[in-house]
């Protein structure tokens, strides 16, 4: 599904990622762990299509060169990023944002757009599953939402858009234990044989609830070690500093 080969990324001639390689197959859950400044967020930014980086190497998503696709085209193809810091958009109603987003993606895929009633049915169902306060859907997007609500809103969007590849950029940071469980349940309910996940995190905690197939340790711009879930526990015990 996703093949990253020899990715190098600089920002203002400072090297962030180098010799970065990763392959994710359909249905797999990968976790990337790493200390601050190791390049975790850069990776999610680049996958989503954020501008401002000098990049080389290759990223293939379902055999298409990602560098040739605009951000929105990547979203149409099924890439979703749950942002580390979800943006506030004053004046824009959360429901309207969600509906516009879903219909833009459906339209790009040649699917029928949902009308207001069909959409509300869907959003109500998903909100209930994620224990997301429905009343918040009528508020301005993320405005006045707590940190946890913003993160839950990302997962709600993810479950409505039903992407092929979901990238969770430190979605667990700032969540209390109840919210963490809800987020994990949301992710687990989307786990299917065709849907893949890339979970970026500092801590092992989230991985207690979302069992990854692979864990990668990212340091100094590239993966220094890969393994199964036990690698996350090892990291937690040793700390990044003593790891190597």
């Amino acid at each position: 599904m996703l093949k990253i080969k020899n990715l190098k990324a600089d920002i203002e001639s400072k090297s962030i990622l180098n010799n970065f390689n990763l392959e994710i197959k359909p249905g797999e859950v990968h976790a990337i762990m790493g200390p601050n400044g190791s390049g975790k967020s850069t990776l999610s930014n680049i996958l989503s299509g954020k501008k401002g980086y000098d990049v080389s190497g290759e990223i293939l998503f379902e055999n298409k060169n990602l560098f040739e696709l605009e951000t929105e085209e990547r979203a149409h193809k099924g890439i979703f990023l749950a942002f580390q810091y979800p943006l506030e958009i004053p004046g824009v109603n959360t429901n309207i944002f969600l509906k516009t987003s879903l219909n833009a993606i459906r339209k790009a895929r040649g699917e029928k757009e949902l009308d207001a009633i069909e959409f509300l049915k869907l959003v109500k169902l998903k909100a209930k599953e994620l224990k997301f306060d429905e009343e918040k859907l009528n508020r301005q997007l993320n405005v006045g939402f707590s940190g946890g609500e913003k993160k839950k809103n990302e997962i709600l969007q993810m479950s409505i858009l039903n992407p092929k590849l979901s990238i969770l950029d430190e979605t667990d940071s700032g969540l209390d234990i109840d919210a963490l469980k809800i987020v994990a349940d949301g992710v687990n309910s989307l786990r299917k044989k065709d849907n893949s996940f890339l979970i970026i995190t500092h801590y092992q905690r989230l991985l207690d609830y979302i069992k990854p197939d692979y864990v990668h340790v990212l340091m100094n711009g590239h993966i220094i070690k890969s393994g199964g879930p036990e690698l996350a526990l090892e990291l937690e015990n040793k700390g990044y500093e003593n790891f190597n």
Partner: protein, 478 residues
Amino acid sequence: MREKQIDKLKDYKYGFTTDIENIRAPKGLNKEVIEFISKAKKEPKWMLDWRMKAFERLKNLKEPNWQKPKYPKIDYQDIYYYSAPKSASETPKSIDELDPKLLETYKKLGIPLQEQQRLNGIAVDAVFDSVSVATTFKDKLNEVGVIFCSISEAIQKHPEIVKKYLGSVIPLTDHYFATLNSAVFTDGSFVYIPPGVKCPMELSTYFRINASQTGQFERTLIIADKGSYVSYLEGCTAPMRDENQLHAANVELVALDNAEIKYSTVQNWYPGDENGKGGIYNFVTKRGLCKGTNSKISWTQVETGSAITWKYPSCVLQGDNSIGEFYSIAITNNYQKADTGTKMIHLGKNTKSKIISKGISAGFSDMTYRGLVDISSKAKNSRNYTQCDSLLMGNKCGAHTVPYIKNKNPESNIAHEATTSKISEEQLHYCQQRGLNPEEAVGLIVNGFCKEVLQQLPMEFAVEAQKLVGISLEGSVG
């Protein structure tokens, strides 16, 4: 991508011209031209005298120059003050007698006059260059006693009302452009709502400048008699021309006891090209008088067109407990400039005013909100609330807020809030990650920003206005 956007921008949907035979007054501003206009309109003598008084006064007036957008000197002798489609100069008795080319023009503009009868209950007065060419739904309005016709017709048929109210809100000698309009105004709409009548449909005037080198000086007068209600909407477009054309209109509203007037504008005059060449100078005087107690006047404007927009739709709150409102969206892109806002003059007791202004600037454009809240010593227990929000796109445009506040009454209360924000790269990226292209993203964010004002528009026009907001900003991202 960028080129595609510019192409779209060039494609100002209303930029076509209609090849139609015109009757024109000779170029220039002089007594003879004013006489020509008055004669062409078959006006009574009092009207011509009134025009001449304005013309005499004009000689002693200077153009104001305190506004922020400056413009090259206008040669008032190089403008045609009267241009009328030949076929309409003999007033047609019904829409069926209109020149088919005119009907076609309005159809292209999305206003099928013939079909108006069957449409959703909006009466339209169409003004083409200097004359009103058609007013729809006259019969139905007559039934309830509502008068909706061109001002020229009103001067002939309802002189007593016109005489009483024309110039009662904007005095003959008010300022240069208003006085110029009083001397040379050509056409516009007239509305009278009798006591106790709630006008059964939206009234709408559609202004179109077609002829080149022609100014449009329309005059609109709306009177809502005691206990009546009317909602009125005007729309404007013009062909794409390299020259700047002057549009200096006067609009006067009078609301008597317990009457309410809702006046909405969707202004989409040609804004000039992406380098700032051509476009309309939209220098308009709009003022409403809340003459009666408990009267209410509400202005809503969506200003997206024109090279320069310079206007302050105002309310004079004379009657006790009267209410004035101003809701505005002004958008400037490329090299457009706007200096717009309102004046709320509180004279009566317990008067209330509310100002909601949303300014959006993109490209190299420049936007100024200028507003006056004046509470006189007699206006006890009056209140004003002002909210001015500016949204910037890119870093080459400007936004300015210039509020003037005069409060001579210690029992009154004025509140002013202002914000300036920018559409951030991060917000755009977020929307794009959710599948929206940059223009859809900007449209969504901007419509969210303007929501409070868009909600004030009559339903049928809110959708149009929403689209217009998106179109006006095309090419401003990427």
